[in-house]
Amino acid sequence: MIRLDNIVATYTTQRGQVNAVDGVTLEIPDSIVMGIAGESGCGKSTLMKVLYGDIGFPLSLSSGSVDYGLVNERGEPVTTDNIRSEWFRHISYIPQSSMSSLNPVVRIRDQFVDFPATAGRKKEVLAQVRDFVQKLGLPPESIDAYPHQLSGGMRQRIMVAMATFFQPEIILADEPTTALDVVVQKSILLLLLDLQKEMRNTIMLVSHDMGVHYQITDKMLIMYAAKVVEYADTDDIFQSPLHPYTLMLTNSLPTIGDERARRGLPGSPPSLWEPQVGCRFAARCPIAADRCRQEEPPLTEYQRGHFSACHFAGDVAALKESMQAGPSLSEVAHDTSKLMLDLEADR
């Protein structure tokens, strides 16, 4: 189990300091696929950096630490302080763009064996790598190629191979399929999922694509303006959300057979430079009351394993009902054709 204890991650800039992650306390069970969602700037990438232990100027940890539930070679518990020496042994990382994440002038096999863990036994490791990439659907000689000789999908498979080769307990994937077309996207995600089932590691997946989250994650973390607003099993997030922001996020996802037009979420998140009072979502929330603007809602376990940070979590179900009463697509289409007729008449 990974425990995050009141994580506050701060960026130091010329304008001053800003908390990109502001007080996140979480317990993540082992061997699950956890999705992290939220709009740009909500702090999900910063949270990933903190989880990976990649903390260095301008990012610093103002409070809290991560306990990974692992022990290192010297028998000490692995925490934020010593996670760096476990990189790609116990925790690995799949970057967003495989295109630019491989050294263009060095053969892929040489980039497979420049980890500190492979020093001194490169030959032996390379033989294993050849077998391993074959299992991942790549020809064994693909590691002899230079990055530009492989397709985008093959390169991303190479990145997945690197991240899983040492069988780490934790894999962080920051939008691993964003740069790929949907067909390749699906195959990469399925590959990742297969490997996860076999190796039983924990995957943290950041994605903007709610469809991806719905299909492959077990649990989901919804972030808004540096805070966790909801944390629950993925099914609960989509079926019975307990936070209005989650509802509006999932509501943007079209489903087959549903003819209603999708509604966007007006407004934008608050500037983190300003001091925050009350609920950070209050300004955009359809059910916000005076209490929300004064008192910050704590992350509370409303149902077993279902956390939400909303004073009116109980009212979200009713909100969901009301939102489903929107105009259907055919009505909108009808309106449009009427508009066209009016325009014709004007001419």
Binding site: W87, V105, D114, H148, M162
Partner: protein
Amino acid sequence: MKLLQYIIQRFVMYFLVLFIGITITFFLPRLMPSDPINNYISQVQARAGQSLSTEATQQLRDQLAELYGLKGDLFTQYTSYLARVARFDFGPSFTYYPEPVIDILMDALPWTAGLLITTTLLAWLIGNSIGLIAGYFNKRRWAGALEVVGIILYPIPYYILALVVILIFAYWLALFPLSPTFLPGPMSWSKTVSILYNSFLPALTLVLAGFGWNVLAMKALAVATKEDAYVQFARLKGTTDRTRMTNYVFRNAMLPQITALVLSLGFIFNGAIQTEVIFSYPGIGMTMRAAAGNGDYNLLYGSIILTIISVATAALVLDLIYPLFDPRIRLGG
């Protein structure tokens, strides 16, 4: 197959460039309004007064035309010129008559090539190493001090740098001779030592003048490259600074620097003039200057064609070795 095609293309380009360069050298002087034969004859006539008969003048004119390769119409001149250049036959030197120009150039060539190739390579190696370290560790304060070396050395004009070096090492410290004296005779151990000793000062000035630019260029390249996604990913892989600096940053940042190195090797004969004149060094630069000063057309022609050949050859060598460093050219992409 693709590689073979690439190599053939480069060679075709090489000979095309040589041909154009040599052709321009042929036509350019002929566009000048003055005629070297008439100039010479009027000089002779001025000296000889009226004692020169018309027949003698005509005979002299024919002989000079033969000597300068100015016989026949323009096309005949041009084809015989090309034939002679292809055999490296530039005729006799006027100043050192009857020694052939090619012999004089071949005597001077090892001196210039030895001095300038060595110093250009040294300046490249030292400059790029310092620039790489300064760029890779650009957030550290001591790395800024490394860059200052480049900033200070780069803008100093070469002749001032050379004079300062002479002043310090040849005059105040008197460690090295002001102008070189080389042992005569065949190569021997003591002759090698004397060459190295006498070449030290010109070499020092060339390295100092050359490496500042390399420091600045490499630093800028390294700073940009180390922010690239693949270097950042390598950092997240847990690779050492040393691995990242050499295998990731340097392997990529050196590509434009190799271009600069090979091109500067092509231009060594031009850079040689200043150095060789200041240090009285017996290379191509001195020969060129003497040829220009004495109106030794053949020698001048020879040196210019040598320069054309060396620049074109450098570009060819660059094209041929570049694929070794950049697989994207070698293997297409």
